[in-house]
């Protein structure tokens, strides 16, 4: 069943008089007990999408839905929504108030929402996040903890509200490789034990492979390919996904994308990836007779289905005859 959903979501920013379409039409769902990875390079809009799903950013159009109900942006509705959808931020050091103890940091959520048995909730959240015995951590300040412990405190802070979905923005990017594995294992265990759903935003394909059921690849504000993780990362259809995978260390032939990095204030016409597309550049698109469409015909927005999907003229063209 779908828990968290983005429907035709657009988010725009204006900077120096120019409109940046950071999220430019996204459909995405996170089902109950499902972990979805959102991957893409820096600046593709994945963090903005995550912030919008958390209600921290207001969409220009489209809706965020939780359990089928569209999110309203009144103070009360947002507060109620935030009990259900919780953030696990990227940098645990910066996201903990340095002058609050572990107890205060974890208790903040339950306090805001007026939940009872605060002490017991905090203790249970800390132990679910792997900090045991929880009482030992109550009086400690963030600077007295290791990076991994801090991230566990942050996760405990989210768990203290018993949310339905975690939105984790690069949850392990700032951690050591050894600690990274522990935090990922923790997320998987939470899913198994509590049935927690999660949207994990990352640029690390290895992480997506290890943790996710489904993957959505984002390029310049749109999802260009999505589907089950084995499908998308095992046999990618979109040239962009192929390029991302090809630069991993054990890949035989790395594809280095040419051209400027994408600029959300100047989204190219036709397929938005065409100026950097290696398939088009190599002439394979022309062989298939789709190069004209690549350059001029915009692609539709992918629906929020759970099966494999790709937004690419070439992939669609080569798939149809097969």
């Amino acid at each position: 069943m779908t828990l968290l959903e983005a429907r035709d979501l657009h988010v725009e920013f204006t900077s120096r008089g120019r409109r940046a379409r950071a999220v430019d039409g996204v459909n995405l769902t996170v089902g109950e007990g499902e972990i979805v990875a959102l991957v893409g390079e820096s600046g593709c809009g994945k963090t903005t999408l995550a912030r919008t799903l958390l209600g921290l950013e207001r969409p220009a159009s489209g809706t965020v839905r939780y359990g089928g109900t569209p999110l309203a942006y009144s103070t009360r509705a947002l507060k109620a929504y935030r009990r259900e959808v919780q953030l696990v931020p990227q940098d645990p050091t910066g996201s903990l108030n340095p002058r609050h103890t572990v107890y205060e940091a974890v208790a903040e959520g339950p306090r805001i929402h007026g939940l009872r048995d605060e002490r017991q909730r905090v203790a249970s959240a800390l132990s679910r996040a792997g900090l045991r015995p929880p009482e030992r951590f109550f009086p400690l300040y963030p600077h007295e903890l290791s990076g991994g412990q801090r991230q566990r405190v942050v996760i405990a802070g989210a768990l203290a509200l018993d949310p339905g979905v975690l939105v984790a923005d690069e949850p392990v990017a700032s951690l050591d490789a050894s600690v990274r594995g522990e935090i990922l294992a923790l997320l998987l265990r939470l899913r198994a034990e509590l049935g927690l759903s999660a949207l994990v935003v990352t640029h690390d394909l290895g992480l997506a492979w290890n943790i996710a059921d489904r993957v959505a690849v984002m390029y310049l504000g749109r999802i260009v390919e999505s589907g089950p993780v084995e499908q998308v990362l095992g046999s990618p259809s979109h040239p962009y996904t192929q390029a991302l995978l090809s630069v991993l260390p054990d890949s035989p032939a790395p594809v280095v994308l040419r051209g400027e990095p994408p600029d959300p204030t100047r989204v190219p016409g036709g397929c938005r990836f065409h100026p950097r597309c290696q398939v088009l550049a190599a002439g394979k698109a022309a062989e298939a007779g789709v190069d004209g469409r690549c350059r001029s015909q915009p692609l539709g927005i992918l629906p929020a289905a759970s099966g494999p999907q790709v937004a690419c003229h070439f992939a669609e063209g080569s798939r149809t005859p097969a």
């Binding site: 132990s127 990274r180 923790l186 290895g206 492979w209 995978l245 054990d250 890949s251």
Partner: protein, 361 residues
């Protein structure tokens, strides 16, 4: 199926019972240990402060011996005397003795609370200072309270409206006032609001803390408050900018922090985020600077008291320089210096009490 991607960290078994906390100390041990650290730190700072005060005593004595002017002549208020009479006077005042001997005498007496006798007033300096301390504390205390409140409040608002009209307006005004010389602003206010300009009547008294015909009882407080208005405004106008600017910049730092986003994502409203997270954390550097800047307020008080003839330490100091009245100069200078040293020490210790990161370090 091939796996063309690097296998990242293994999603292995769940980690065992939690990692050990960074410190071995238990809850109570950690707390009392931290406070013991604060105490040790405070004692060390106190030692440093005492050393500084000692230096001030030395500097005071020799500094004022270098000022031109003959105290004996000043003492006689230009009444013509024969050189013999002057020599006698110098001997009585102890000015004929060698400098080190005078210094030793000065230090020993100062330790007993005897700061000498004023040539000008012919009264013990300690007594004079005691008399003038009250008005100065009233002026500086009131001024500082208003300036800090105003500065922190405006600074908070400016940071929250960063780049907006309110921000530019309030920051601009405060900086203009800060750049204005204290005496000039004081004279201007005096002309407009005390003497009266054109149709504007003078609504505030021009000088002093009280008039000869001051009423008694509770009305006396109002009477003094009426006299306090202009000096206080002058002092506040000149110093509040630093509190505004410091609060504004430290709050801007805090607003950019991730934990502010985390707090919002947990369901806190913006105003609550400001109150519970950003402002308390921004207060930390601000409180320290408030104390460090008290030295500047003392300096402002000397000028303000002179302009408004406010009967405080600043005016006493100014009059003593005109003398020159060595004993009074030394006494007031030392009191003002000691006040600054005490405040700085307080700031250092307070920082340790307030910041858990420094506290346990």
């Amino acid at each position: 199926m091939t796996v063309p991607i690097e296998t990242g960290p293994a999603a292995g078994p769940a980690p065992g019972p939690g990692e050990a906390p960074g410190k071995d100390t238990g809850k109570d041990g950690a707390l009392s240990g931290a406070w013991r650290g604060v105490l040790r730190y405070a004692l060390a700072k106190l030692g440093g402060a005492l050393l500084s005060i000692g230096m001030v005593v030395v500097a005071t004595f020799f500094l004022f011996r270098m000022i031109p002017g003959d105290p004996a002549i000043a003492y006689t208020r230009d009444v013509p005397l024969t050189p013999d009479q002057l020599d006698l006077l110098r001997r009585q005042m102890g000015l004929d003795r060698p400098l080190p001997e005078q210094f030793l005498d000065f230090v020993l007496k100062a330790l007993q609370g005897d700061l000498g006798t004023s040539y000008e007033y012919r009264r013990p300096v300690a007594e004079l200072i005691g008399e003038r301390l009250g008005p100065t504390l009233l002026l500086v205390g009131t001024g500082l309270t208003v300036a800090v409140t105003l500065g922190l409040w405006q600074g908070t608002r400016a940071a929250w409206n960063h780049g907006g009209r309110l921000d530019r307006f309030s920051t601009g005004i405060s900086l203009v006032l800060w750049s204005v010389p204290t005496f000039w602003l004081g004279l201007l206010l005096l002309m407009v609001f005390a003497a009266g300009v054109g149709p504007i009547p003078g609504i505030f008294p021009t000088r002093g803390m009280e008039d000869v015909d001051a009423p008694g009882g509770p009305l006396y407080l109002l009477h003094v408050a009426h006299h306090l208005v202009l000096p206080c405004i002058t002092l506040v106008a000149v110093v509040y900018a630093q509190y505004l600017v410091v609060m504004r910049s430290s709050l801007l730092d805090e607003i950019g922090q991730d934990y502010v986003t985390t707090a919002r994502a947990k369901g806190l409203r913006d105003a609550e985020v400001r109150l519970r997270h950003a402002v308390p954390n921004a207060m930390l550097p601000t409180v320290t600077l408030v104390f460090l800047h008290i030295g500047l307020v003392v300096q402002g008080a000397v000028t303000t008291e002179t302009v408004y003839s406010w009967p405080g330490l600043g005016l006493l100091f100014y009059e003593a320089i005109k003398g020159p009245d060595f004993a009074v100069m030394q006494g007031t200078f030392m009191v003002l210096c000691v006040a600054v040293i005490v405040m700085n020490t307080l700031a250092d210790v307070l920082y340790h009490v307030l910041d858990p990161r420094v506290r346990s370090a």
